[in-house]
Amino acid sequence: MNKNLKEQVLRSSGVNVLKCMRCGKCSATCPSYDEMEYHPHQFVYMVEKGDIETLMKSDSIYKCLTCFACVERCPRGVEPAKVVEAVRLAAVRQQGNNHLSPVQIPEMLDDDLPQQAIVTAFRKYAK
Amino acid sequence: MQVNNNFEPVIVAFCCNWCSYAGADLSGTNRLNYPTNVKIIRVPCSCRVNPMFILRAFQKGADGVIICGCHPGDCHYTSGNYFTRRRITLLYSMLDFLGIERNRTRLEWVSAAEGAKFAATMQQFTEDVKKLGPNRRLEDLRCRKQ
């Protein structure tokens, strides 16, 4: 277990994973559930255990749509999406400087792409 | 005005036994924090608080005085807090007339069920008094702490 990594994820997400009561409503509500190897409730639980590297290696961190349904529905206010994002951030940081920069964006855009998706994508890949 | 960050005001809170003192107990039971500056004096009813006590507190070096009673209409003694409201309104108005800072005095209705309100009120009042700094206008110099 990598203690520093756990602390980094907890700090950057601002989430108190101990508030989770393991009801699974986050995973029940997740539209990307089937795409994900590890599901929102597992993110919360594994971060609590400190098993972050497993999550960082998984594709799941990119499968999260950041739709925030889990954040909205969680009865305990745990905010699993923020945990997913923090793990993703940890992975991105380790990769080094291969960030997406704003100038690259226009050429990737599709006219039908909803604005929310652009913002979400940017939040996801630009860090 | 010079703000002394280390200033810890002395705050006297008169609480009626039936509502506000119970409300204060409740904020304790619920572990709701408020500053240690606040010291509570139990009185049977807010109407027991003689304006003399308030002036006395200021004279002896209190920086703020707050009176808490049952909500109007809920007085354990039916009408006590209505008298309190008139007396204290007139007294506070007089203190204001004499140039005493308005935020040093307060009257608040806190029921036995309002532990959270009690804590929040004390928090706020302490902050307000801290902003004013030490009470110099109503203090008896002989009572000043060294």
């Binding site: 699974g24 029940a28 | 003192y21 408020y34 004096i41 139990r42 008298f83 069920a113 532990g115």
Partner: protein, 663 residues
């Protein structure tokens, strides 16, 4: 010379963890007049009390200061201890260093400083305490029960059994409460009506019990043993005495489209109605929001068909005043409103129901006569999904932070009943935890799983989507299988959290009782006085104090009754000696005090006095009737000359406290 003893309690770690009790005892030992200053683990325990008693005897103490929990908790304990060794109980003062110090502060240094100051204030006050003797005040031998559910009924029956008169005030047209709406009870599956209605009848026939149905408490005055309560009897537009409950009016009433509250709005009733067949009192009530006669003066059918002539369109709200010795609160609970839970589609889909609605759907007296049909198309549901903890154990503003306690068991009951009656139905229960502490409770739940094959799935439902074919898609997670499920359901049943009745908070205000942040009444002690409120003479019965199932409610109801009976059997209670008194030498006879006294305790008399110049003069002076005075102190401030003072809270005592705090 005063000899004061100071006793600092650790309260286990409750105080000692944040207040350096040794330092407090040490600091207070230097206060003037203090001859002994000790600390002890549990001052309220017998050995703690003995410590106080021994010190009083050994040091011949003239005053005692106990630094401990709130005086509302243990002032009496220590006063009694002092009295038992001959020290006047009113020479004991409490410094509240738990509720108002250790429990609210975290830093030891500042909390200890504050505790010392509070102790010093108490020492300063006790210097000026005078021995007081308590008088007595009579107890009105009548009790009031607020709420006519199973809790209120049981409390009233028990009090009546002991031979005391008791009144039930129920805001609905009939007593019975939530239990009357329930179909079967867990874990025995006996019919709720079969066990409740005999109790309702018993209550109505008991000569000691008066039922004020369709009534509310409008005002409460007074104190333990002597409350004066104003009860508002709402106009039901039917004479309760004349009405025979024959139901002819109901049958003929042309206004038939009124949502039936008793069936949770699942069907309709008439504008004039009797909530259910076994209602007590079995009297009709007109709903003024729907009655054509009351709304625009056109109709009057019920009046024409009523053979007893009981209909009275001109009836007004009536206020009655009654004196009581004890009041028992039994205001009960309601399921929370689920409108904010969009994910469960409660307000969009009629086939998503609450558990209480399911009770009515399955009840023989319910909208479908006991056959379980979907509210939308009246077809048999073949797949039913139960969702637990809807709004319970929530950290957000939509729900409640507590466990509603009864849902696990009633859901097991529902699942079992459905599987028993309709074996072709698949039943899924999504749970977070199944909580079954109680006699025969876990066995009951296991029966649902093992015998009735109810599918219990660990996980929560995330989304409920009504589909165009009338089915409902339930998206949920199965945490143990680590998969997301989609169940094609016919009905979804939500176990809504329960909350105290909305009338509880204004009532608590009237009664000057404490409530927690969830509006449950706070008991005087969470373990040792669970059925009393902190306000003397007010007792708590049933779910108004916290979520409870029926057996627990009945147990608490009887306990509250026992406590109330304990009060009512007394002819008098010791009254507060902390009353006002007038110093005749200072009194001007100006009548200011008389004008502010809410009890009329002050009278005037002309008395002859020897004046300082050796003449005699007749002066008008005030005197206080100590049996009537309640000790509020309004007069002490109204008095310009300072002649009026209050025992136990005298001007000099309060000023001594002020001085000690400001020093």
């Amino acid at each position: 010379m005063q000899r004061i003893g100071v006793f600092v309690c650790h309260c286990g770690t409750n105080i000692a963890a944040t207040v350096d009790v040794k330092a407090v005892a040490e600091a207070l030992s230097h206060e003037p007049g203090v001859v002994i200053s000790q600390d002890y683990q549990y001052m309220c325990s017998e050995s703690g009390q003995n410590l106080v008693k021994d010190a009083i005897k050994e040091h011949n103490l003239t005053g005692v200061v106990v630094c401990s929990c709130s005086p509302r908790m243990h002032e009496n304990t220590f006063r009694k201890a002092a009295a038992s060794v001959g020290l006047n109980p009113y020479l004991v003062e409490i410094a509240n260093i738990r509720e108002q110090c250790s429990w609210i502060h975290k830093e030891i240094a500042t909390a200890t400083d504050k505790a010392i100051i509070l102790g010093k204030a108490a020492v300063a006050k006790v210097h000026l305490n005078a021995p007081l003797t308590a008088g007595e005040s009579p107890v009105v031998k009548r009790a009031l029960v607020i709420g006519g559910g199973i809790a209120g009924i049981q409390t009233a029956l028990d009090i009546a059994e002991a031979g005391f008169d008791v009144d039930i005030v129920e805001k609905k047209p009939t007593i019975g409460g939530k239990m009357a709406q329930i179909d079967k009870t867990f874990p025995t599956l006996d019919c709720a009506a079969c066990i409740l209605t005999p109790k309702m009848v018993e209550a109505s026939q008991n000569e000691h019990i008066t039922i004020h149905s369709f009534s509310e408490v409008a005002d409460v005055k007074g104190f333990v043993g002597n409350f004066t309560v104003t009860i508002k009897k709402k106009a039901r537009y039917v004479d309760e005495v004349k009405c025979t409950g024959c139901g002819a009016c109901v049958e003929k009433c042309p206004m038939k489209k009124v949502p039936n509250e008793f069936n949770e709005g699942l069907d309709n009733r008439h504008a004039i109605y009797i909530p259910f067949a076994q209602a007590v009192p079995k009297v009709a009530t007109i709903d003024p929001n729907y009655c054509m006669m009351l709304k625009n003066g056109k109709c009057g059918v019920c009046s024409k068909v009523c053979a007893a002539g009981a209909i009275d369109y001109k009836q007004q709200d009536k206020f009655i005043e009654q004196k009581y010795g004890a009041i028992i609160v039994a205001t009960g609970f309601n399921p929370i409103n689920l409108d904010k839970y969009d994910e469960f589609a409660y307000s969009q889909c009629p086939d998503v129901v609450t558990s209480l609605e399911l009770e009515r759907l399955m009840n023989a007296a319910g909208p479908n006569g006991g056959t379980l049909l979907r509210p939308s198309d009246k077809t048999h549901p073949h797949t039913i999904v139960f969702v637990q903890c809807v709004g319970s154990r929530c950290d957000d503003e939509k729900g409640k932070p507590y466990c509603s306690k009864i849902c696990c068991m009633y859901t097991a009951k529902h699942a079992m009943l459905i599987r028993e009656k309709y074996p072709d139905t698949e039943v899924y229960v999504f749970y977070i935890d199944v909580r079954t502490p109680g006699k025969n409770f876990d066995e009951f739940y296991r029966r649902a799983v093992e015998q009735y094959n109810v599918h219990y799935i660990k996980g929560m439902v995330g989304k409920v989507t009504p589909k165009s074919d009338g089915k409902i898609d339930v998206q949920a997670s199965d945490l143990l299988a680590n998969e997301q499920l989609h169940i094609n359901a016919d009905m979804v049943v939500l176990a809504a959290a329960i909350e105290p009745d909305k009338t509880a908070r204004p009532l608590a205000t009237m009664l000057t009782t404490q409530m927690d942040t969830n509006d449950f009444f706070t008991e005087a002690h969470p373990k040792l006085r669970p059925v009393e409120s902190a306000t003397a003479g007010i007792f708590l019965s049933g779910a108004c104090q916290g979520p409870k199932d029926i057996p627990e409610t009945v147990a608490q109801a009887s306990a509250a009754a026992a406590k109330a009976i304990g009060l009512l059997v007394k002819n008098s209670i010791t009254c507060n000696p902390c009353v006002a008194h007038s110093d005749e030498l200072l009194c001007n006879g100006c009548s200011s005090c008389e004008k502010v006294c809410p009890y009329g305790a002050i009278t005037y008399q002309d008395k002859e006095f020897r004046m300082p110049d050796r003449t005699t003069a007749i002066r008008r002076v005030a005197s206080v009737n100590p049996a009537v005075c309640q000790g509020c102190g309004a007069c002490t401030v109204a008095c310009p000359s300072g002649a009026m003072d209050l025992n136990g809270f005298s001007n000099s005592q309060i000023m001594a406290e002020v001085d000690a705090i400001c020093k």
